[in-house]
């Protein structure tokens, strides 16, 4: 498996997808337009302003009065409704557009909608949704679960038993995020979040059983929409030789880079007699201990050295 990958360029932002996140919306006109992702939050949206056009413009009481006063011909010439620069016009506080505004938006393929939210709330909502839609994304093959409040991605070759161990973990009270295909994006530049594609949410494929619905079988509390990715556990079908050559004191831990962020990856051997769900739980507990500065292996070696009277080196 490749351990380092380049950060893919984000796709253009589907404006429609962003605006759909607003609650209580009435649409007059939709749009298929996209905005290049290089737009930063600061210049993607703003209040309607003919001197400084933003792709998404927010119209409040003052702006609507100004628009109402404009004649049809003025509206058509206004830079605010230019088919190149403008993508969407959002009316706040339940304000309604007049027929002239509706027409000019229709002619220039500009989305037009109204919402009962105030302008500050609209700004808040758009700002909150942007990082999820704009940040770089990638897909990973594996099962993603929240095990004891830790996002664990279980990877490994097809047929090694990822879905089966996921079922075991859900049975033990942990939550499933996604089976087999996980969408990962970078949030706030510093952490990774994994989520399930909406088409597959709550379903797991188990060989011999077909596709089962975890949501219905174990209840809604057993499924999560998204979770922070903190640990990767790579399952490997072990040959006897591999098991014998393992370092017995240390976990086989290395770091892999996903979207520019380093994530610890633990390799775990699958062999008859090894209960994977218990091992993954134990690995997660060990990960949590390590995060709080407790390294069981190192502690043991140190205390053993002390008993043997060996001076600590370095």
């Amino acid at each position: 498996m490749q351990s380092v990958e380049s950060v893919p360029q984000p796709e253009p932002l589907q404006v429609q997808k962003l605006i759909e996140q607003l609650p209580d919306v009435h649409w007059y006109q939709r749009t298929g337009k996209t905005v290049k992702s290089c737009f930063q939050q600061a210049n993607l949206f703003g209040f309607l302003n003919p001197l400084r056009i933003t792709p998404l413009q927010i119209v409040d009481q003052a702006a609507i009065e100004w628009l109402y006063r404009m004649r049809d011909s003025e509206l058509r010439k206004s830079p605010c409704f230019d088919s190149q620069g403008s993508v969407a016009t959002i009316l706040c506080d339940g304000l309604s557009p007049n027929p002239n505004i509706i027409e000019v938006c229709k002619n220039n393929d500009i989305a037009l909608l109204k919402t009962s939210l105030g302008s500050a709330a609209v700004l808040d909502c758009l700002q909150g949704q942007l990082p999820r839609l704009l940040s770089p994304r990638c897909n990973k093959h594996g099962v993603f679960l929240a095990v004891m409040n830790t996002g664990v991605l279980i990877t490994g070759a097809s047929g090694v038993g990822k879905s089966e161990v996921a079922l075991d973990l859900v049975q033990r009270g942990h939550q499933l995020v996604a089976d087999d295909a996980v969408e990962i994006y970078r949030r706030d530049g510093a952490e990774l979040v994994g989520e399930c594609s909406p088409t597959l949410k709550g379903y797991v494929e188990i060989r011999g059983l077909g596709i089962i619905n975890i949501d219905k079988m174990f209840g809604p509390a057993s499924v999560l929409d998204y979770y922070r990715l903190q640990l990767i556990i790579n399952l490997k079908d072990a040959t006897n030789k591999e098991i014998r050559s393992l370092d017995r004191l240390q976990p086989s831990l290395n770091m892999v880079e996903i979207l520019g962020i380093k994530v610890p990856r633990l390799s775990m051997l699958v062999a008859p007699g090894r209960n994977l769900a218990v091992l993954i739980e134990a690995a997660t507990r060990d990960f949590l201990l390590r995060k709080s500065g407790i390294d069981s292996s190192l502690d043991f070696v140190k205390s053993h050295d002390r008993i043997m009277g060996i001076e600590e080196i370095g």
């Binding site: 796709e11 897909n139 097809s158 087999d180 295909a181 594609s197 088409t199 597959l200 596709i211």
Partner: protein, 89 residues
């Protein structure tokens, strides 16, 4: 490693039953097989992955096979796509 663009030609696209047939085929090969659509990359041996692509008729899918039987795998996969997964159209 072999790479090829394969179009989805059948009317229903890469639906659940077609995906199931495809997985049955790919699981028989030792090589690693990946399907890529836009920026979504999935394992062709995982039915959930293929279903996530939700590829409709006319979609171009990039297939990458890598391993000892990569040529055979690629041929079999393109043939299955061409023959509409054994469907009528």
């Amino acid at each position: 490693m072999i790479e090829a663009e394969v179009p989805v030609v059948n009317k229903l696209g890469l639906h659940a039953r077609a995906a199931s047939k495809l997985v049955k085929l790919t699981a028989g090969f030792e090589s690693s097989i990946k399907l890529i659509r836009k920026n979504q990359e999935v394992d062709a041996k995982s039915i959930m992955g293929i279903l996530m692509l939700a590829a409709t008729q006319g979609t171009q899918i990039r297939v990458i096979t890598d391993g000892p039987d990569e040529r055979d795998a690629m041929d079999a996969i393109s043939e299955m796509f061409e023959q509409c997964f054994g469907e009528d159209e």
